[in-house]
């Protein structure tokens, strides 16, 4: 190990599965496109600009549900259509003489930026975002890893048959699509429980991420897996709502989207029947620090992001600790929530590469050289409020878990009691039923219910997947599987297309 302090940044990219090709446009699809435009593509630009042939300075976790959406055959066409709709709206704004000049200028900027993304998506990325990320990994610019299959909150499924499916199937799918056998595993919500490391051992990883519980940043589990805990203070410098960088008055305001202010005719697909709007990202204002928002100034915001990067490097030089300072963040913070986040992270990568006292690397690289590490198990925790599980298990969400556990028991019974002469249809029905259960287990649903803003949507998603699960379970029990309905459900929820009943029995 060199004498420089080891710092490891990790960005975890995740969205719940939600590409609905049966409708022209949907809330879930709007989220996907917005995050792709604001975050995933800008980050590809940032990491793509890194020199090749060196050790990757950063790790990126891509959730299986996110990559399933990127890999959906309909994604390229629908993403391009979204970009074109947005470009059209921005161009109309830019050409509207009744609008204030700053707004028109910003709209023109957005139109150009989206045009550039459209062009790159077609030519540079060839419609394959996962392929672009994989290429970055092959060039040594990032280290890729993944997480649980549908991002389940694993402590709530400790005794479930499907917990192993959550851990194993996502990694298998990731490896099949990228050719990469990940060395690390992102625990959804950093949620660890005692014994989880035994399941993680089966997927061949070396390390996983946990919350900081006031102990060493590294713990070697009895089965040799390494648990790495994040650095609390430095993490908070980035995401904290009050003291974190994204709250600076010069940064772009996240919450105000001008699409809501457009007429019904202008908003088009973005306007719902009930008058609500789907997000587009038509954001013209800066945080301002007041109700009456000022116009956004991109140059000033970029300059602020650079200043904040310098500040963070200074903090790193003072606060970074041995053997590793681990800083994981939601990837969506960079670009989606914090629009200038990609600029900040690019500057961090640049500054750190020339800082004598810092070494930026991935956990895999740094830990290969790690000194003697305390043996034990990390404390069960999450990165949620008070580090416990209460953000996901509480009075608002507790009704979810018995239903999921009941469905899990049904799945186990079906796998244990399969008929001797099963049919192809039977195997497909079991596979689809498993997909529905896994989708119902996403930690996003209790999270949304607890956070409040999209609680009804989350309840609908749980109802939808459980209803589909029980519909199939009933048909399997009756020995009367509706082939058309099954094919329809396979198209509606097309995750894990390679899943077979043999694989399920193996688990």
């Amino acid at each position: 190990m060199n004498s420089a302090r080891n710092v490891s940044l990790l960005l975890h990219a995740h969205l719940p599965y939600g590409l609905r090709t049966e409708v022209p446009f949907s809330l879930e699809e709007a989220w996907l496109h917005e995050a792709t435009i604001d975050c995933y593509v800008p980050l590809l630009y940032v990491f793509g600009s890194l020199p090749a042939g060196k050790l990757p300075p950063i790790a990126v976790s891509l959730s299986p549900t996110l990559i399933e959406m990127w890999e959906h055959p309909a994604f390229p066409e629908r993403f391009e259509a979204h970009l074109r709709r947005g470009i059209n709206l921005f161009e109309n704004e830019a050409a509207d003489p009744t609008l204030p000049a700053p707004r028109r200028a910003l709209a023109s900027n957005y139109a150009q930026s989206w045009e550039s993304i459209l062009k790159d998506f077609r030519s540079k990325f060839q419609g394959k975002l996962l392929g672009a990320w994989t290429q970055l990994a092959q060039l040594g610019k990032v280290e890729l890893l993944t997480t649980a299959t549908t991002h389940a909150f694993l402590p709530a499924h400790q005794n479930a048959t499907s917990r192993k499916l959550q851990i194993e199937l996502g990694v298998e799918r990731f490896t099949r699509l990228t050719g990469i056998e990940p060395k690390g595993f992102w625990l959804p919500e950093c949620a660890y429980y005692l014994g989880l490391e035994r399941d993680l051992e089966t997927i061949g990883i070396e390390w996983f991420s946990v919350e900081n519980m006031g102990e060493s940043s590294l713990t070697r589990c009895p089965n040799k897996l390494l648990a790495i805990s994040r650095h609390s203070y430095l993490s908070r410098k980035v995401w904290d709502a009050r003291s974190g960088y994204p709250g600076n008055v010069d940064y772009r305001e996240f919450h105000r989207d001008a699409i809501k202010e457009l007429s019904h005719e202008k908003a088009g697909l973005f306007r719902l029947e009930n008058g609500d709007s789907l997000p587009l990202g038509m954001k013209y204002w800066r945080v301002s620090g007041q109700e009456d928002k000022d116009w956004y100034d991109p140059a000033q915001a970029v300059e602020q992001a650079r200043q904040d990067a310098h500040d963070f490097i200074r903090e790193l030089e003072e606060e970074a600790t041995d053997p590793i300072t681990f800083l994981p963040f939601d990837a969506e913070l960079f670009g989606h929530w914090w629009f200038e986040g990609p600029v900040w992270i690019k500057e961090i990568l640049h500054l750190a590469s020339s800082a004598q006292s810092l070494h930026l690397g991935t956990p895999t690289e740094i830990l290969a050289d790690a000194p003697e590490i305390h043996v034990g198990r990390p404390k069960p925790s999450t990165w949620g409020h008070q580090s416990d599980y209460s953000f996901w298990v509480n009075h608002e969400t507790d009704w979810i878990y018995p239903l999921l556990q009941q469905a899990d028991r049904q799945l186990a019974e079906l796998l244990n009691n399969q008929p001797k002469q099963e049919s192809t249809l039977y195997g497909r029905a079991i596979g689809q039923l498993t997909r529905e259960l896994l989708l119902a287990q996403a930690s996003d649903w209790p999270f949304m219910i607890r956070a409040g803003a999209t609680a009804n949507y989350a309840r609908e998603r749980i109802q939808r997947h459980l209803a589909r699960f029980h519909y199939l379970a009933e048909q399997i029990a009756q020995g009367n599987i509706d082939q058309e309905a099954l094919a329809g459900l396979e198209e509606l929820d097309p995750i894990l297309p390679d899943l077979t009943i043999e694989r399920l029995i193996h688990s």
Binding site: L15, N212, Y389, E396, Y401, E484, L492, P497, L499
Partner: protein, 420 residues
């Protein structure tokens, strides 16, 4: 013979209309209720959630086999505490019993010790302390507290700075804060032996207190008749040891349970922000009162197929499994204190015959109520008034949950009616 192909590979994609039709036909189908069983879900250090579904026949058979009389028998959840991941309950280091109500119900339970693993069994406890398990749950790992207290994050402005257990015991400042305790309940005043020892508190005792609540209606237990207007059928059990908690102004829609406050510029949002939001669920505490309490009454219900539930005329949206949930906040100290102060006695209060009615399983609606109280003690002189079973953390916070019996809680305006 196993399937050679994972899924339909015909390449014939369904039309969007066809997919929508399939989805519409399936997605609104009822999700079945949970089957009999007991499941545990971890929540926080020393805190877990349990969900159980007991059938009447199991209890009756249990009583018959063990020769138990319902009035002398309690239904309890026994939590077994393990230091290692164990499946054999005989290996438990210790256990705690929690009284429960309702055959199909759920609740939160706080352990005295923060064991890393717990298991659970739901069973019958007789008057001699003999426990007969009826259902068992698989063991779970619980979260543990951090080694060092974390810095408070994103405390809302209205909470202000707080100082827990100040080094100097400032009687004048306590006196200055006393008016905050308007409406102090009779039960707290009836502790003269301890309180009167603090002369600085005397002025407050001259306050005259009003009747704490007006009993409007009671909801708990089971309701068998459709078109059933709860307030007319189940009178409040005024004779109960615990006065019913009243809901004086039930809103049209169930309130959000969350007391989570996000800074106005960072409202909850769609996915991709879990760390940022989940980490910043801020706590807002009133640090002016010597003891600050807040509570939520949680009504968990299940409605039979063919029926719907209205609250103040508004139809409740059902959760999967035909469940519904109504949460009501209680902010008045006077309304919370009776539930809080008698928590130590709850095990003795709920017997099989009083805690809930054992009927057949043909009810159209089952509603069970619990109260979750959380609070913070700001003046240590008040520690002596805390119930013994309440565990206080290093920052003076405490949480307790209590299963309520029939008549302990009030919810007017609930209507169960058959589908047209």
């Amino acid at each position: 013979m196993h399937s050679p192909q994972p899924r339909s590979s015909s390449g014939n994609k369904s039309s969007p209309e066809s997919l929508r039709r399939i989805a519409e036909a399936i997605d609104l189908k009822d999700v079945p209720e949970t089957a009999p069983g007991l499941t545990l879900v971890p929540v926080a250090p020393g805190r877990f959630h349990a969900n159980w579904h007991l059938e009447t026949a199991i209890i009756k058979e249990g009583c018959r086999i063990f020769g138990l009389q319902p009035e002398e028998t309690r239904l309890v959840l026994r939590a077994y505490e393990f230091s290692e991941d164990e499946r054999i309950y005989q290996a438990a280091q210790s256990w705690e019993d929690f009284p429960i109500t309702g055959l199909v119900n759920r609740g939160y339970f706080n352990l005295e010790a923060e064991s890393p693993f717990i298991g659970g069994a739901l069973g019958l406890l007789n008057s001699h302390g003999h426990f007969r398990p009826l259902l068992r749950a698989e063991s779970i790992s619980l979260p543990v507290a951090p080694s060092i207290a974390k810095e408070p994050i994103a405390i809302d402005d209205e909470a202000g700075e707080h100082q827990f257990f100040p080094e100097v015991f400032d009687e004048n400042s306590i006196l200055a804060r006393l008016p905050v305790l308007e409406g102090l309940p009779e039960e707290l005043l009836s502790l003269p032996v301890t309180l009167s020892a603090s002369p600085e508190l005397k002025p407050y005792f001259e306050e005259v207190l009003d009747e704490p609540t007006i009993h409007l209606a009671a909801v708990s237990g089971k309701i068998s008749d459709p078109q059933y207007y709860v307030s007319q059928i189940l009178p409040a059990q005024a004779a109960s040891q615990i006065p019913p908690a009243s809901i004086s102004s039930a809103p049209d829609k169930p309130e959000q349970l969350s007391d989570q406050k996000q800074p106005s510029s960072h409202k909850p949002s769609p996915p991709g922000s879990s760390e940022r939001l989940a980490s910043q669920s801020s706590e807002v505490w009133n640090n002016m009162a010597p003891i600050y309490l807040r509570a939520e009454l949680v009504f968990n219900g299940i409605v039979a197929p063919g029926f719907k539930v209205r609250l103040n005329g508004v139809q409740l949206g059902l959760l999967p499994g035909r469940q519904f949930k109504i949460v009501r906040k209680i902010n008045q100290f006077v309304d919370i204190w009776p539930f809080f102060s008698t928590i130590d006695d709850q095990l003795e209060q709920i017997s099989l015959s009083s805690g809930f009615k054992i009927k057949n399983n043909e009810e159209q609606v089952i509603i069970n109520v619990s109260i979750c109280i959380e609070g913070r003690i700001n003046d240590r002189s008040y520690l002596k008034h805390m119930p013994k079973s309440v565990k206080i953390d290093s920052e003076g916070r405490f949480t307790l949950d209590r299963q309520l019996s029939d008549g302990d809680a009030l919810l007017p305006g609930l209507l169960v009616e058959a589908d047209a």
